[in-house]
């Protein structure tokens, strides 16, 4: 009987030696400074315009959005989105809290919000998509499965290694983003209050449950949700990698699903059954920030349940197929 630990060690070793994780770090190290720079330019511009008074800036945003509500050329869905946005901004203004307090922490919060549906899933695919299909492409799967080890143990060790790297990717995204943006905006800001708990129904916002949390706590919740999304995406990519023989095909399948998700989120509010698809449920952090869900009736609990079901199903399919299938080539 072979213990699972040496097997997991094998799989981690292979991921590291394949230099996949370094590539991910490199991508972060290149992209985050770019976003930081862009953010810096925005900050500079508003500074010139509003003389560093954030209240003026927020007030201006509110007026702009309200003005656009009168226009006929803007679709109804966008209008309700803007109405909600205006109400939230007003709430911040009334409570004298700057929603965009410039700091490394705020940047990180916003960066994470924007990367949860596409960017982080892409980084995860870099590891997950070739875990099994890579071994089949190179033929090493034959060496792996002719050892005196049950197949489910081989697959389990791969999955365990994957989950470890998923956690590492989420953590490094946070760290890289905080450390680099901190250079530009300063490292303070963990205790700045952020409002959460906006209840959205139609185009009005229920403020009764809104409460302020320190930004560090908000980030913690955010990272937890991102980790959950990442695990589900990883499990799905893992399943595709079990089902498909080539790594390229496996990446294309997952990419298509993710990109379809971002497109659907923008246009599927009429097609309500789309809310059971995993890819429109990836924006979990939006529920924290109070952005309206892409489809009426979606809540944080609903999205998490949908994702959990998809994740569980992919685990079951992965194990069933992997342990039963003939390795023909």
């Amino acid at each position: 009987m072979i213990n699972l630990l040496p097997l997991i060690r094998n799989e981690c070793l292979k991921i590291i030696k394949k230099k996949r994780f370094y590539v991910i770090l490199l991508i972060l190290l290149v992209l985050v400074p770019m976003f930081t720079y862009a953010q810096m330019r925005i900050a500079e511009r508003s500074q010139n315009k509003f003389n560093s008074d954030w209240r003026l800036e927020v007030q201006q945003q509110i007026t702009d959005n309200q003005n656009s509500l009168g226009s006929d050329r803007i679709p109804e869905e966008w209008k309700s989105y803007r109405k909600i946005f205006v109400q939230q901004l007003q709430y911040y203004l009334n409570h004298d809290v700057n929603p965009n307090e410039p700091s490394g922490v705020t940047f990180t919060r916003e960066f994470l919000d924007n990367s949860v549906t596409l960017f982080i899933p892409l980084l995860i695919m870099a590891v997950a998509s070739d875990l099994v299909s890579g071994e089949r492409t190179t033929g090493t799967i034959k060496m792996l499965l002719t050892r005196p080890v049950k197949r489910w143990k081989v697959l389990f060790s791969k999955m365990a290694a994957l989950l470890m790297f998923v956690s590492l990717i989420v953590l490094s995204t946070f760290l890289v983003s905080y450390l680099i943006s901190g250079l530009a905006f300063g490292y303070k800001g963990f205790n700045v209050p952020v409002f959460t708990g906006f209840q959205i129904s139609g185009d009005s916002v229920d403020m009764s449950t809104v409460h302020a949390v320190p930004q560090w706590k908000y980030l913690l919740m955010q990272c937890g949700l991102i980790w959950f999304v990442s695990v589900v995406v990883a499990l799905l990519a893992f399943m595709v990698s079990v089902l498909v023989r080539s790594t390229a095909a496996s990446i294309v399948v997952m990419m298509a699903a993710l990109i379809a998700g971002t497109i659907l989120t923008n246009m599927a509010s009429a097609w309500t059954t789309a809310k059971y698809l995993f890819m429109v449920n990836l924006g979990l952090t939006g529920y924290l920030a109070g952005t309206p869900a892409p489809i009426e009736g979606m809540t944080l609990a609903f999205s998490m349940a949908v994702l959990a079901v998809w994740g569980l199903a992919s685990v079951i399919i992965s194990f069933t197929v992997f342990t039963k299938r003939d390795i023909l080539n």
Binding site: M1, I2, K17, M143, L145, P148, K150
Partner: protein
């Protein structure tokens, strides 16, 4: 046809019993039965596409047979792979190892997947295949021959009782092939059962003690190489003058079979050396002196008599009724 259960003296290490495999609607493997005993080199011979690789994949639990049973040292490979595969070292098709790891890291990787393999054992197998100079280099820098040796090292790690090699001489130069042959013989002498597949008849004939011949998913014959080969009479080539007279004398005899050049499989070098007045016959070699005497009394000049020992190739062609082997 021998049933494959005879011959050899050691304990049966691998037993394949009535194995069949259906893929889609087609029976890819249709009745394969043989035993491999300890200390013997067992050849698995057949043309490409005959089902050799599919059978080998079934031996190591990569493919599950639809019917039949495969046991290694008494353990069913498909029901109890954790036990059975402990006794098996294998290279299926090419020795595919992780090219982004060093040779040593590869061996460590596979060592972690089986019980009782420590650092000393890894060093030992590295020594056996003589890779010690390059073992800490990345496999991507290895030549094909070195990868082959690393593959064998990997197969030997767990002190197997059965070694399965699929077309082991593929891509090796003649020197490498000779070395490998000697190496395999040495392993068998130490008590290992070695199962070697090949589509090269000469290869199997030089290397193996016993052989199974497979074609279109069926095992056509199993037996000792010499035993199978000796079922065939040798070719005897004659160079005679006058030719017509000699042909008349031979054609009447029932114990001599005359052949056209197109009917025989001979090395090109032999065909090139044959004169225009050559006769190709199949006959018992004990008949040669008698025939020579008959020819001489009939005043036929016997310029040359050349006996060519039977080969597996002849047997193979007979069994498969001329199916080509490439």
């Amino acid at each position: 046809m021998t049933n494959g259960k005879s011959g050899g003296s050691g304990a049966v290490v691998l037993s394949v019993d009535g194995v069949r495999k259906k893929i889609g609607r087609k029976w890819i493997i249709d009745d394969v039965t043989f035993d491999v005993r300890e200390g013997e080199i067992f050849g698995f011979l057949g043309p490409n596409g005959a089902g050799k690789t599919t059978t080998i994949r079934m031996l190591v639990d990569l493919i599950r047979p639809s019917e039949g049973k495969i046991t290694v040292c008494g353990f069913n490979v498909n029901r109890n792979p954790e036990k059975a595969l402990q006794y098996v070292g294998s290279i299926v098709e090419n020795p595919e190892v992780y090219t982004y790891l060093t040779g040593w890291e590869n061996l460590q990787h596979f060592a972690r997947m089986q019980p009782g393999v420590d650092k000393a054992r890894i060093a030992e197998v590295v020594d056996i295949v003589r890779l010690d100079q390059r073992i800490h280099d990345k496999v991507s820098t290895y030549s094909l021959g070195m990868r082959q040796r690393l593959g064998i090292a990997q197969a030997l790690l767990g002190r197997p009782r059965l070694l399965i090699l699929d077309e082991p001489t593929n891509g090796l130069d003649p020197k490498g092939i000779k070395e490998l042959r000697e190496f395999i013989r040495k392993l068998a002498d130490e008590g290992l059962a070695v199962f070697v597949s090949s589509h090269l008849l000469s290869e199997i004939q030089l290397l193996c003690d016993r052989v199974a011949i497979i074609s279109k998913g069926r095992v056509l014959a199993v037996g000792g190489v010499n035993e199978l080969v000796s079922r065939n009479s040798p070719y005897v080539l004659w160079e005679l003058e006058p030719f017509d007279r000699a042909q008349e004398l031979m054609i009447d005899r029932s114990d001599i079979q005359l052949l056209e050049l197109s009917e025989v499989t001979l090395d090109d070098s032999i065909i090139a050396g044959m004169g225009p007045n050559s006769l190709i016959t199949i006959m018992d070699e004990d008949l040669i002196p008698e025939i020579v005497a008959v020819l001489v009394t009939a005043e036929v000049e016997v310029r040359a008599v050349h006996k060519i020992n039977p080969t597996l190739e002849q047997l193979f062609l007979k069994l498969t009724e001329g199916e080509t082997i490439d």
